[in-house]
Symmetry: C2
Subunit: 249 residues, 2 copies
């Protein structure tokens, strides 16, 4: 039932946003969502993000085909969320991990292909993860979409990291992760990164590489956590950091 | 392949642990896990928890039937984890939420049957959630198992809470959740509690009730979070609190 005061306004992902006056045609999931879930009508406002910082206000023009005109484009700063690198979790647990990391505002997820748990690149899987990241963007009405990288080995992943950000290694024997507020130095700081082993754990060589690259062992909970739970727990801590930074709380 | 140096020792859930000399018969999932996954043999040590603070060392006696003798019983203090109350998430998302809350050491999960999202009690669902809490106990080798309560209304849930613990209401417009370390006053403090609305949100009456009962609006992330993601994020923060308390970090 359409009840404008209560309704959640539609928010879609449009990779190519050019500028005011641009005419867009929405299809597939987006069209279903706008017309069936949000029950938008011609003349209604819909918002769209390109997942790279631009959010547009659109005016719906027609329903079949579903077309909309860009009225306004607004740039947004990056969310400031960290990077998460993980080995393969068990079974299908990567799927919801991707959804949750994206929802919590993680900037980039780097799957790690580890000695004890190789994670061969599979285009179909990558596409599914991209779709999950897109769904999370819609859910969160976010200007930025989490980047999903292709699985690579630890050494290559280390080489791809930005300089200067803090680096954490999830480790039950590490020091407790410091209180969120104590780490923060500003929005322009390079992103923090966490490395989390696969279900079977990193091997000694991988751990040594990570330590040598400045990854500091940090404990997230008193209990053993699965790969995907550790990733989530770190991302939740990182999200609180972002809140503190942006609201000065 | 059995490789004792590397292998993870078996850990099972046994609701009734009496004391040394007790003979146990393990069946079903537990038997499969001990003999097939952990490849334990007669004479091997297995550990068992009753989910209420007792952990036993068992010595495997025979494989078919799978019997074991209790060698030693050790009591453990409660984990100190908080209580989580949530409305219904969308679809099947409650299942993994239960698994993750249990893994992060939450003491009790109270499903809330809300005005906008009634959550009728269903014995089959409760049983599945209990199984997930048990699986998380095994995964975490924990002495305490998360308690799964039957869905009740907000007013009744409030009436069932322990006195004196801090109370949080997940709310994107609230103050940032304080840094983990600042809340801690000791292991014997009553558990903290969080209330998280269903996918459709609490209604005004429910929010008013929670506020009147001392629930303080707290923001977990700059983005909109789904019910289950907010629950996870709060539980991760609570787990860090527990780490700080128990390790004095």
């Amino acid at each position: 039932m359409r009840s404008p005061g209560d309704a959640t306004p539609a928010f879609v992902f449009v990779p190519e946003l050019a500028g005011p006056g641009q005419r867009l045609t929405l299809t597939g999931d987006d069209a279903h969502y706008v017309t069936r879930v949000c029950r938008a009508r011609p003349g209604d406002t819909v918002r769209a993000s390109n997942g790279r910082g631009l959010v547009a206000r659109l005016r719906l023009d027609s329903l079949a085909p579903l077309t909309a005109d860009v009225v306004e484009l607004e740039p947004h700063d990056p969310s400031g969320g960290g990077w998460v690198m993980t080995g393969a979790p068990e079974g299908q647990r990567a799927d919801w991990m991707v959804e949750k990391l994206a929802e919590l505002g993680i900037t980039r997820w780097q799957p790690l292909s580890c000695a004890r748990s190789p994670w061969p690149s599979a285009p179909a899987r990558l596409e599914r993860w991209e779709r999950l990241a897109t769904a999370a963007l819609r859910q969160s009405r976010a200007a930025w979409r989490m980047e999903v990288a292709s699985p690579i080995e630890v050494a290559d992943a280390i080489a791809s990291l930005p300089e200067g950000g803090r680096r954490w290694l999830a480790d039950p024997d590490g020091e407790p992760l410091p209180s969120a507020r104590s780490v923060t130095t500003g929005l322009t700081e390079p992103p923090q990164v966490v490395a989390i082993g696969p279900a079977e754990g990193f091997d000694d060589r991988e751990r040594e590489r990570l330590r040598a690259a400045g990854f500091r062992p940090a404990c997230l909970a008193t209990r053993r956590l699965r790969t995907e739970t550790a990733a989530l727990a770190w991302a939740a801590w990182d999200a609180l950091e972002v809140v503190s930074r942006t609201r000065g709380g």
